[in-house]
C-alpha cells in the first residue's frame, strides 16, 4: 500500500510540475526569441528613445516610461479609493451590505479588458477631450498639461487602469484587514479611541500586507494590455504631459507583433515582453511575500493568548 501511495504522490506531483515547467519555459522561450535584439543592442536598447522599425532603430525607453508612468499614476488614484473600500467593507458597513458590495467590486475585475477599452474609446476619451479643452490656457503652459487636447493619452489610460486595479488592491487589503486580531481594535476602543483612530491602528498593524496589496495592483497595471492600447494614443515619445499620447510595453507588442516582418524587429518586441515578464515577476513575488508574511505573523500572534479571546467575543 505504501508503494501505491508513493505512486499517487509521484503521479499527481508530475502534473503539478507542469506549472513550474511553464514558468521556466516562458522565461527561456522569451530569452531565446529575443537573443538577436539583446546581442545587437545590449543595454542601449533601454536607453535610447528612437523607435523606427523602418530604419532598423529600436529604442525601448518610451515604452518603459509609458508603462511606469501610467501604472504609477493609476496607483496614485486607485490606492486611496481601494483602501477606503476595503475599510468600508471590512470594518464599517452593515453586515447585509457586505456580500453585495464584495460582489459588485469583484465584478469590476471580471469585466473583460476589451470591454473597458471599447467603453474607453467611445465614452471616456470624448469626456476627457472635453475636459482637456475646458482647461484654461494659462494652465496649459505647464509641462503636465501641454499638448493639444486629443482625449487619447496618458490621462485616459491612467484613469481606466485605476478602475481596473481597484478590485485587486481592495480585495487583498480586505483579507489583510481581516487577519488583524480583534484585540488590536478593541484595545484602541478601550483606550477611548474614535472609530478612525481604532481603524488607523488596525491599518498600521496591517501595513506590510497593505503594501503587498498595493504592489499586487501595480503588477496588474504594468501588464494590462487591451484597454490601455485602445486609449493611450500609441505614440512612442517620452513626455511628462498627461494629455500627450504615449505608448506602453504591452501596447506596442499588441499593436506591432503581427506586423514585425524582419527578425530583428520581432526580437526587439519579444525583448520588451521578456523585460515585462521579469518586472511583473519581481513585483508579484515581492507582493506575495509581503502579504504572506503579514497573514502568517497574524496567526502566530493570535495563538499565545487563548484566555483573552472568549472574553473579547
Amino acid at each position: 500500500m505504501r508503494s501505491k501511495d508513493l505512486g499517487f504522490r509521484v503521479a499527481t506531483g508530475a502534473f503539478a510540475l507542469v506549472l513550474v515547467a511553464l514558468v521556466c519555459a516562458i522565461g527561456f522561450e522569451l530569452a531565446r526569441q529575443s537573443m538577436a535584439s539583446i546581442q545587437k543592442f545590449g543595454f542601449n536598447f533601454w536607453r535610447t528613445d528612437v523607435w523606427d522599425p523602418v530604419a532598423g532603430q529600436f529604442g525601448a525607453l518610451p515604452f518603459i516610461w509609458g508603462t511606469l508612468y501610467s501604472s504609477i499614476l493609476a496607483l496614485a488614484i486607485a490606492t486611496p479609493i481601494a483602501l477606503g473600500i476595503a475599510v468600508f467593507i471590512a470594518e464599517l458597513c452593515p453586515a447585509a451590505l457586505r456580500q453585495p458590495l464584495v460582489f459588485l467590486t469583484e465584478l469590476l475585475a471580471a469585466i473583460p479588458s476589451i470591454v473597458y477599452g471599447l467603453w474607453g474609446i467611445f465614452v471616456l476619451v470624448p469626456a476627457i477631450r472635453a475636459f482637456e479643452t475646458s482647461i484654461p490656457g494659462a494652465l496649459r503652459q505647464l509641462p503636465l498639461f501641454s499638448g493639444p487636447p486629443l482625449g487619447v493619452g496618458m490621462l485616459s489610460a491612467a484613469l481606466i487602469l485605476a478602475v481596473m486595479v481597484i478590485p485587486f488592491t481592495s480585495s487583498v487589503s480586505r483579507e489583510v484587514l481581516k487577519s488583524v486580531p480583534a484585540a488590536q481594535r478593541e484595545g484602541a476602543y478601550a483606550l477611548g479611541a474614535t472609530r478612525f483612530e481604532a481603524i488607523r491602528a488596525a491599518l498600521y498593524y496591517a501595513r506590510t500586507g497593505i503594501v503587498g496589496a498595493v504592489m499586487l495592483g501595480f503588477g496588474r497595471a504594468l501588464g494590462e494590455t487591451m484597454a490601455v492600447t485602445m486609449v493611450i494614443g500609441n505614440n512612442p515619445r517620452v513626455s511628462l504631459s498627461l494629455f500627450a499620447p504615449q505608448y506602453t510595453m504591452a501596447a506596442v507588442i499588441a499593436n506591432e507583433f503581427t506586423e514585425a516582418a524582419d527578425e530583428l524587429y520581432l526580437a526587439a518586441l519579444v525583448e520588451i515582453g521578456l523585460v515585462l515578464f521579469i518586472i511583473t515577476l519581481v513585483v508579484n513575488s515581492l507582493s506575495r511575500l509581503l502579504i504572506w508574511s503579514m497573514t502568517r505573523s497574524a496567526v502566530v500572534l493570535q495563538t499565545p493568548e487563548p484566555t483573552e479571546t472568549p472574553a473579547a467575543a
Binding site: 519555459a25 464599517l92 467590486t105 476589451i114 470591454v115 507583433f257 506575495r288
Partner: protein, 283 residues
Amino acid sequence: MSRTTRRKILSSAFVAFCAGSVIVALVPLGFILFFVITQGIRALNVAFFVHMPKPVGEPGGGMANAIVGTLMVSGLAALMAVPIGVVSGVYMSEYGGTKFASVIRFAADTLNGVPSIVIGVFAYGVAVLPFKQFSALAGGFALGVMMIPIIARTTEELLLLVPGAMREGALALGATRASAVFSVVLPAALPGIVTGIVLALARIAGETAPLLFTSFNNRFFTTDLRQPIATMTVQVFTYAISPYDDWHRQAWAGALVLVVIVLVCSLLARVATRRLERMHARG
C-alpha cells in the same frame, strides 16, 4: 473647538471618505454596464448570432464565426487546463506542507500574474512559429496556460474545505490515498470545483491579448483547428478601432454578449458558493 470634537469630526470624515470610495468605484461600473447594455441592445439581433460578417460598407451581418471560434478556443483551453489544474490542486492540498508544494504554489501565483500579452508572445514562440501558421490550437494553448493556475488554486482551496474526518474515515477503512481522494474527497468538493471551472472559463473567454497572434482572426467560418479562427474578443477589438459606424455598433453588441456571459457566470457561482457554505455550516 475642543480636542474631542475635533477627533469626532475627523472620525466621521474618515467614515464618509470610505463610503465615498465605494461610490466612486461603483460609478464607473454603473457607467460601463449602462453603455454596454443600451448600446449593445440596439445592435443585438438574431442576425448577430447566425450571420457571417459582411464586407465593409454593407450594413448588417453578424459574428457567427467569432462566436463559434470563442467557444472552440475556450473549449480547447479547458481540455488542456482542467486535468492539469485539478490534479495539481489535488497535489497541493494533499501534500500542502511539503517544500515542493510551496514551489508549485509559488509557480501557480507567478503564472497567474504573468501579463496575458506575454503569454501570447510565449504561445507564438512555441505553437505558431514552429508550424508557420496561426491556429485555433495555438489560441487554445495560450488560454490554457492562463487557465491552469486559476483552476489549480481554486481546486486546492476547495479540497481544503472538505472536512478532514471524511478523508481520515476513508483511510481508516483501508483505502489508498488515491481512492480516498478520488472517491471521497474530490466528489465532496466537486460542485465547488465545477463552479471554479465555469468562472475560469468566463474569464479566459474574455481575453483578447493572448489571441492576437495565436488564433489571429478569420473573416470566414471555420472549425479547422489548424487554421486561424475568429474570436469575439479579437473581433470586437478589430471593429472598435475601425472607422466604420456599423462596425462600432457590432462591437457594442459583442461587448454586451461578453458582459452577459461574465455576469451570468458570476451570479451562478455566487449562488453555488452560498449553497456550499450553507452545506458546510450545517456540517
